[in-house]
């Protein structure tokens, strides 16, 4: 089946009403005189599906290009209205410009349509872009705020957009330091916080958490979980270490629910690639010592092994997906409400 991608319209506006009118036109394929076009008749015969509003905030033009490509790929499986805010309040001259476009993709015979608005603001309007974004959202659909890079936690724009959003998605792997992680936790725990927090870095840890949990799904291993003596996490030492800390925070916070304080050992290593490389769980107790290990292999795989005393049990290799940003975002878009586990893992990581 052939796939295609068509840009239906791309025009520039400055007035919110003009933007709304253009959005209606690109969504339903109306002519400028408001009459129904052939495209409109076709659209009426099929109806459009939209599952969410997505707001992305970028700070410069190169980032705009990257984010636009990610969102285009995401739109195939998440037909949505996308607002991309290029907010440059440090540039002096006031400017507000909007570009409205619609994309139509045909994938495996299914037509998916998406509208996109790029709002580009300098100076004072850049601080108040939320007031322009709000009326452009499709009503009754969830609003996801994706902030690539380190969010400007102190900017009024950040607060205003968090007020609009149902979910704030960040990537703590993008240079988040301790102060950033603390701010993120504060946002998650704000009184009356509307937006829940999603972290692409947390989504990357899904396979590690899954395999670690699987060990103790086995009835004869569950008892050992109550006797965790410690955890070691080997990780690359370049860039952010947030991923390793979140993994440690996760197991620590989980075991705290049954009154167990798990010592964490972090082993940064220059020779390892970025991110978590190896995760070891040591248990003791009456059943003797055991080690549960997970090791990242080349080619997107995870090798798992249990050692009971000196005996090595069955080893297995499973997939460790290297997911593209749009895939990670796609996961975040389907998660409901506050992710209490993430928030607790984040808090434990900061202890």
């Amino acid at each position: 089946m052939s796939n295609s991608h068509t840009e239906l319209s791309a025009r520039t506006f400055v007035d919110v009403h003009a933007i709304q009118e253009e959005l209606d036109q690109v969504r339903w394929g109306l002519h400028t005189d408001g009459q129904e076009s052939e495209a409109a008749q076709h659209a009426a015969a099929e109806a459009r599906a939209s599952v969410l509003n997505l707001i992305a905030v970028v700070s410069n033009e190169p980032e705009l290009g990257e984010v636009t490509s990610v969102l285009e790929r995401l739109s195939v499986t998440n037909p949505s209205r996308t607002l991309i805010l290029l907010a440059q309040h440090t540039r002096e001259a006031d400017k507000l410009e909007a570009e409205v476009s619609a994309q139509e993709r045909t994938e495996s015979g299914h037509r998916v349509s998406t509208e996109r608005v790029i709002l580009h603001a300098h100076g004072e309007p850049a601080r108040h872009l939320a007031s322009l974004a709000a009326p452009l959202l499709i009503s009754d659909l969830p609003v996801i705020l994706w902030w690539p890079g380190r969010p400007q936690f102190d900017s009024p724009l950040f607060d205003d957009l968090c007020e609009l959003a149902d979910r704030l998605v960040v990537d703590t792997d993008e240079g988040f330091d301790d102060a950033d992680l603390k701010r993120l936790l504060e946002v998650a725990r704000r009184q009356k916080a509307r937006a829940s927090i999603g972290d692409l870095n947390w989504a990357r840890l899904m396979a590690w958490r899954h395999v670690a949990a699987q060990y103790f799904d086995m009835p004869n291993m569950l008892a050992r979980l109550a006797h965790i003596r410690g955890v070691s996490i080997f990780h690359g030492s370049d860039g952010s270490t947030a991923q390793a800390r979140l993994l440690g925070g996760w197991i620590r916070s989980r075991m705290a629910t049954v009154g167990l304080d798990v010592p964490l050992e972090f082993r940064p290593d220059d020779s390892l690639e970025h991110g978590v490389h190896r995760f070891l769980i040591y248990t003791g107790g009456d059943e003797g010592p055991a080690r549960f290990s997970m090791t990242r292999l080349r080619g997107g795989r995870l090798s798992t092994q249990i050692r009971l005393g000196d005996q090595e049990l069955a080893e297995r290799t499973v997939r460790l997906e290297t997911r593209a940003t749009e895939e990670l975002l796609g996961i975040e878009l389907t998660l409901p409400g506050h992710d209490v586990l993430f928030e607790r893992a984040l808090a434990a990581a900061l202890q």
Binding site: H110, V211, D217, T317, G330, L335
Partner: protein
């Protein structure tokens, strides 16, 4: 140093919050018919994909059982080729395959060979010892149905299926019997070794995401259930149409026909889930209780008036000229086996009284389509001048199982302009384009459910027997009629002419799926 938890753990706290299925206990799966088509096309690719996606436990092992002369290495190589060819995930990850293959072994034996079961027992004990399978076993009968009873009998005699350490489950492929009597006999034979909760009768239709989605559609959306009854529904059409012929299955099909091959299982399953009451929860018996109630409520069918059978003759499908059924390989040139069946039935309960259900299935029809179509009644009065109610197409809610899984709702809308003109439009929801995750194959879901001990999507004893009872009634009716004048529909058409009369005498028409 960490202290121990204050109390022994009764649940895996690391599992909390993971939106992933629980991992089954380490187990050994014994596949009878391991050198056959089903194992190669479906089972082994399903196991590979489960392993790839981290759903299988450490120590999971497979013992292939067949009477084909193969060494263990040859069997593994054969399985690897099958995965390469049929896995939905490509390319095949060699390291993951190797990891799975380490747990694969092969026992060559005829299925009735008592000594062979001794070797099988020894192999299972080895796996318990070396791979920690702890006595947990799935016996998967992927072989010809005539071996079902003998395998179960020998498993019982050899003590392999005996309760003790670990759980024991048996998976049985369709056809589960070929009439009520044989199904009852088979149930009885299996029950001498396995209890009903240990028996998993597979109908892969139930493993399809979109079949399960019918239940979600009905019971998780408040707007549909209030109108899902005789007051608002005019009638229901359920179609399982295939554009292919019988391919190389002539020998089997001659003894089965459309009635046994599709009507008894797939169509009855779709009917049950379309018509059932809401279960109190989604556990196995709650769901199956409601499905069985539907089958119990089916009004006795008047075979002469409410059933149409057909057999395809030569014709054209998809631009290709195709032979008639009687010209297919391993088919008698005078065969009276039906390749098409349509049934009009009614369900005697408060929800559906007097609402007809039209079911049809056939081979070599113009297109491949499986769907449940709920046609609603017309509005009683249309207050628009010069627009007669009859001009409007009724609202139809279609749940498509395949292809293009999804749902569509046909509604009326005004055509823009000064004159009040109405037009019918479709609101479509494509399942595939609305979710990021690729749908797993039905076998992946069902194998995993079996290992987790969840029988919700498997047929229960009474369900199977009820469905066979309905088939037997139709067979008896046909036996009392003169032999049919087959072939009575050309390949590439929607069945014999009588099928239109079946629905048109009620003032209705078949949908074109």
């Amino acid at each position: 140093m960490a202290q121990a938890a204050t109390a022994p753990l009764t649940q895996n706290v690391l599992r909390d919050g993971l939106i992933l299925p629980r991992t089954p206990d380490p187990a050994a799966m014994v596949i009878f018919g391991a050198s056959g088509d089903l194992t190669a096309r479906k089972l082994m690719p399903a196991l590979y994909n489960l392993a790839l996606n981290r759903y299988l436990p450490s120590g999971f092992s497979v013992i292939g059982v067949a009477d084909t002369a193969l060494t263990e290495d040859e069997f593994r190589a054969h399985m690897e080729q099958a995965v390469q060819k049929y896995s939905r995930s490509q390319p095949v990850d060699r390291a993951v395959w190797q990891s799975l293959a380490e747990g694969i072994s092969y026992v060559r034996m005829p299925f009735d060979d008592e000594a062979g079961y001794g070797r099988l027992a020894a192999e299972l004990e080895r796996l318990d010892r070396e791979r920690g399978t702890n006595g947990n076993r799935v016996f998967y009968l992927a072989c010809a149905p005539q071996f079902f009873s003998v395998i179960v009998d020998r498993l019982g005699a050899a003590g392999i299926a005996r309760a003790g350490e670990g759980w024991k489950r048996v998976v049985i492929e369709k056809p589960f019997g070929n009439d009520l009597k044989s199904a009852q006999a088979l149930n009885q034979a299996i029950h001498t070794v396995f209890n009903e909760p240990q028996i998993y009768r597979i109908d892969h239709y139930l493993g399809k995401e979109t079949v399960q989605n019918v239940l979600v559609f009905r019971f998780a959306n408040g707007i549909f259930e209030p109108i899902w009854n005789r007051r608002y529904v005019d009638h229901v059409q359920i179609t399982v149409a295939e554009d292919i012929g019988i391919e190389r299955r002539g020998k089997y099909y001659e003894t089965a026909g459309a009635l046994r091959d599709i009507y008894q299982n797939h169509l009855m399953q779709l009917l049950s889930i379309a018509a059932m009451e809401a279960p109190p929860n989604f556990d196995a018996d709650s769901v199956r209780d409601e499905k069985v109630k539907v089958l119990k409520s089916i009004h006795p069918i008047d075979v002469a008036n409410d059933v149409v059978r057909g057999q395809y003759g030569p014709g054209w499908v998809g631009g290709q000229q195709v032979p008639g059924y009687r010209q297919e390989m391993n088919v008698s040139p005078t065969s009276t086996t039906e390749t098409f069946v349509a049934v009009r039935l009614k369900i005697d309960n408060w929800r559906w009284a007097d609402t007809p259900f039209y079911l049809r299935t056939g081979k070599r029809l113009p297109s491949r389509a499986s769907e449940i179509a709920i046609q609603f009644k017309n509005p009683p009065h249309l207050p628009f001048a010069k627009t007669a109610v009859q001009e409007l197409t009724p609202n139809v809610l279609v749940m498509r199982i395949q292809p293009h899984e999804g749902a569509s709702l046909k509604i009326a809308a005004k055509i823009p302009g000064p004159v009040m003109r109405l037009r019918t439009v479709n609101m479509d929801f494509f399942y595939g384009s609305s979710f990021m995750v690729e749908s797993p194959d039905a076998y992946e879901r069902l194998v995993l459910d079996c290992m987790l001990g969840d029988a919700t999507l498997f047929a229960r004893e009474d369900e199977v027997e009820r469905a066979w009872g309905l088939v037997d009634r139709i067979e008896a009716g046909w036996a009392a009629q003169p032999p049919p004048a087959f072939a009575n529909y050309p390949a590439g058409t929607w069945g014999p002419p009588e099928v239109d009369a079946l629905i048109e005498r009620d003032g209705r028409r078949w949908r074109r799926p």
